[in-house]
C-alpha cells in the first residue's frame, strides 16, 4: 500500500522523500473531513475544517492550546460527537464507532495514570487480547525500547517510559491508522529522538499517523504534511519545508566584518554569498544563510490567521 520512497538523509537517519505533490492523487484516503464544526456552549471550538489524509502519510496538526486541534482529533478518534460536517476515518463514520473499526485504529492519548500496579509485559499482553490481529507483545515491548523494564510495574516507570507503554498499547493491535496526541511532552531530548525513530519506523511499515504536537521541530522531523489550526480553522496546510512560503521567503545572509556582525535580507542569497566570497577572497567569517524557521512561519500564521 505504501508508495513511499525512502532515502538516507545526510545525517544518516531515515528521512522521508517528499512526495506530497506527486503522489497524493490516486492514493487511498485514510481520513476525510468536510465542513466539520463543533461548539461548546458559547465557544465555537471548530469552525469549519476540511482535511484529507492519505494512507501511509504522517500528518501533523499544529496549533496553540484552545485552537480546536484536540477537539478535531477526538472527533476523528470517535471520542466526541460533532455538530455538523462529514467525517470518514478508514471509510467509517467515527460518530458511530464499531468494534471492527476500533480494532483498525490505535489511539495514544495525552497523559494517563492508569494500570499502575501491572507490569509492562502483563499490560501489553492483556491489551493484545482485545484485538483480532495483535502483534507479538514482546516484539512491541522491544520496539518501544522497554525490554529491560518488561517485568517492572508501570507505577515505577519514569514519565518517558510510561509514554512508551502508551505507544505500545496504541500499536499492539497492528493499527492501519495511529493517532498520537502530543506524544513527547515531558521527554528529555534523547528520549524524543528515540521516540521519533520509533514513529519513523512505523511510518516506514506503512502505518498512517496523525500527530498533534507543540514542538515544531517534531512536526518538521516526522511529518509529510502539516496543518496549522488557529481559532477553529485551518490557516495553513502543506509540506513543512515549504509551509507559508518558507522555501522562497527572503533569506538572511549574516557574516562578521571589522569586528561586528552584519546581515542582509535578500531574494538572491547565492549571489550575495558569491559577492562576499570575492570580497573576502575565500572564506567568509561566521557566514550564515537562514530562511524563516517553521517556528517563525507558525508564529506569524497564528498571530494573523488571515
Amino acid at each position: 500500500m505504501s508508495t513511499e520512497r525512502w532515502t538516507t538523509g545526510s545525517t544518516g537517519r531515515w528521512c522521508r522523500a517528499s512526495r506530497t505533490a506527486t503522489t497524493l492523487e490516486g492514493m487511498t484516503t485514510a481520513v476525510r473531513v468536510r465542513g466539520l464544526t463543533k461548539r461548546y456552549g458559547e465557544v465555537q471550538a471548530v469552525g469549519g475544517i476540511d482535511l484529507d489524509i492519505s494512507a501511509g502519510e504522517v500528518f501533523a496538526i499544529l496549533g496553540p492550546n484552545g485552537a480546536g486541534k484536540s477537539t478535531t482529533v477526538e472527533i476523528m478518534e470517535g471520542y466526541r460527537t460533532r455538530d455538523a460536517g462529514e467525517v470518514s476515518v478508514l471509510g467509517v463514520d467515527p460518530g458511530r464507532p464499531t468494534r471492527e473499526w476500533r480494532s483498525r485504529i490505535g489511539v495514544v492519548l495525552q497523559t494517563a495514570n492508569d494500570v499502575a500496579e501491572a507490569t509492562v509485559r502483563e499490560t501489553v499482553r492483556h491489551f493484545a487480547g482485545y484485538y483480532p490481529r495483535a502483534k507479538d507483545p514482546d516484539e512491541v515491548i522491544e520496539q518501544v525500547g522497554l525490554t529491560d523494564k518488561a517485568g517492572t510495574r508501570i507505577r515505577q516507570l519514569s514519565g518517558g517510559q510510561r509514554r512508551r507503554v502508551d505507544v505500545a498499547l496504541g500499536v499492539i493491535g497492528s493499527p492501519e491508522l495511529l493517532f498520537l496526541d502530543e506524544p513527547t511532552t515531558g521527554f528529555d531530548p534523547e528520549a524524543r529522538r528515540q521516540f521519533w525513530e520509533l514513529i519513523e519506523n512505523m511510518a516506514h511499515q506503512g502505518t498512517t499517523i496523525v500527530l498533534t504536537t507543540h514542538y515544531l521541530d517534531e512536526a518538521e522531523a516526522l511529518a509529510d504534511r502539516v496543518a496549522v489550526v488557529s481559532g477553529g480553522r485551518i490557516v495553513a496546510e502543506g509540506d513543512p519545508a515549504t509551509l507559508g512560503g518558507r522555501a522562497t521567503a527572503k533569506a538572511r545572509v549574516g557574516w562578521a566584518e571589522e569586528g561586528e556582525h552584519r546581515s542582509r535580507e535578500t531574494d538572491t542569497p547565492t549571489r550575495t554569498v558569491l559577492e562576499l566570497a570575492t570580497r573576502f577572497d575565500g572564506e567568509v567569517p561566521e557566514l550564515t544563510v537562514t530562511r524563516p524557521s517553521l517556528e517563525d512561519v507558525y508564529l506569524r500564521l497564528i498571530e494573523n490567521p488571515s
Binding site: 497524493l24 492523487e25 490516486g26 492514493m27 487511498t28 484516503t29 485514510a30 476525510r32 461548546y40 484529507d52 492519505s54 494512507a55 478518534e77 470517535g78 471520542y79 466526541r80 470518514s88 478508514l90 471509510g91 468494534r99 471492527e100 476500533r102 480494532s103 483498525r104 489511539v107 492519548l109 497523559t111 494517563a112 495514570n113 492508569d114 494500570v115 499502575a116 500496579e117 501491572a118 502483563e122 492483556h126 491489551f127 487480547g129 482485545y130 484485538y131 483480532p132 490481529r133 510495574r153 498499547l169 493491535g173 492501519e176
Partner: protein
C-alpha cells in the same frame, strides 16, 4: 485538492475475541492488580474483621429467650455488609478509572463495554466472597457461630448473596458518576455507605431504630440482605427478633431483585464514560 475518495480496500474479516472471554480476562487483570495494591487490600479485608472482633467482643450477651448471642447477630450483619462492599469498591473504583484515564483508554480499544462491566462484576463477586469466607471462619472459630446444616438454608444464602452483590454492585456503578473527581470519590461514596450500615441493622438491630429510619433503610438493599443472612445464620429462633416477627424472605427477594433490575436501568441511563473535564 482534487483527490478522489476511494475506500481503503476491505480488510479480511477478522474474528473479534468473544466478549465473555474478554470479560474473564478483565476480571483476572483487575483482581491481580487489586491484590497488589496492598493498602487497599488490607483496608478492604480488615475493616469488617476488625468490626466483628470489636462488636463481637463487646456484646457477648445472650439475646433474651432465643439461645442466640449478639455476636452471631453481628456476623450475619457484617456478612450483609461484606456482600455490599461492591457498592463501595465500584463506586470508588470506577470514579478513579474515569479520572485516571482507564475508561478513556478502554473506550479507544475494541474491548466491548460489557466486558469491562463483566470484569468488574466478577472481581467484586470474588472479593465479597473472600470477605464472607473470612467472616464465617472467624464467626465459627471465635463467636460460636453455627453453620446451617440444611441445604435449603444454603440455597437461601446463595441467592441472597448473589442478588445482594449484583444489586449493590450496580448501585455502586451508578453512584460512581456522582463524585466530581477520583480524589473525592472515597469521601463521597464512603459516607452514605457507613450511614446505610447504621440504619440497616448491621451494627444496631433494626428493632431499636425509629420507624422513619427503618423506612428509609427499607428502600435500599442492605437492610434486606442483612435480614436474609440472619434467616440463614440465626434460624427460626431469631425470627422473633425481627420487626415483622418473620424474615420476610419473599420481600427480601423482591427488593433485591428490583435493585438488580433498577440498578441496571440506572447504570444504562446515567453512566458516564468520560470525566467531567472531558465533556
Amino acid at each position: 485538492m482534487t483527490q478522489t475518495v476511494t475506500r481503503a480496500p476491505a480488510p479480511p474479516i477478522d474474528r473479534q475475541p468473544s466478549a465473555i472471554r474478554l470479560g474473564l480476562s478483565r476480571a483476572a487483570f483487575e483482581t491481580k492488580t487489586f491484590f497488589r495494591e496492598r493498602d487497599a487490600v488490607i483496608f478492604t479485608f480488615s475493616f469488617p474483621i476488625v468490626l466483628l472482633l470489636i462488636f463481637g467482643s463487646i456484646f457477648a450477651d445472650e439475646l433474651e429467650g432465643t439461645g442466640l448471642n449478639v455476636s452471631q447477630l453481628y456476623v450475619a450483619g457484617l456478612i450483609g455488609s461484606a456482600a455490599m462492599t461492591g457498592f463501595q469498591n465500584l463506586g470508588i473504583g470506577i470514579a478513579m478509572d474515569r479520572d485516571d484515564g482507564t475508561l478513556k483508554r478502554l473506550l479507544g480499544t475494541p474491548l466491548p463495554r460489557s466486558s469491562y462491566f463483566v470484569g468488574r462484576a466478577l472481581n467484586t463477586l470474588f472479593i465479597s466472597f473472600c470477605q464472607v469466607v473470612i467472616l464465617l471462619v472467624i464467626g465459627v472459630a471465635l463467636f460460636g457461630l453455627e453453620l446451617p446444616s440444611e441445604p435449603s438454608m444454603w440455597v437461601t444464602f446463595v441467592w441472597v448473596f448473589v442478588l445482594g452483590v449484583f444489586g449493590s454492585a450496580l448501585l455502586g456503578v451508578a453512584v460512581s458518576s456522582l463524585p466530581r473527581s477520583g480524589k473525592s470519590a472515597s469521601a463521597v461514596i464512603t459516607m452514605p455507605f457507613v450511614v446505610l450500615q447504621f440504619i440497616s441493622g448491621v451494627y444496631i438491630p433494626v428493632t431499636q431504630l425509629p420507624p422513619w429510619l427503618v423506612n428509609i433503610a427499607s428502600v435500599f438493599p442492605l437492610k434486606w440482605m442483612c435480614q436474609g443472612f440472619r434467616s440463614v445464620f440465626l434460624g427460626d429462633a431469631g425470627a422473633t427478633l425481627e420487626l415483622a416477627k418473620s424474615y420476610e424472605l419473599d420481600r427480601v427477594a423482591l427488593v433485591l431483585g428490583a435493585w438488580v433490575v433498577g440498578g441496571l436501568v440506572l447504570c444504562l441511563t446515567t453512566f458516564r464514560w468520560k470525566s467531567r473535564r472531558d465533556g
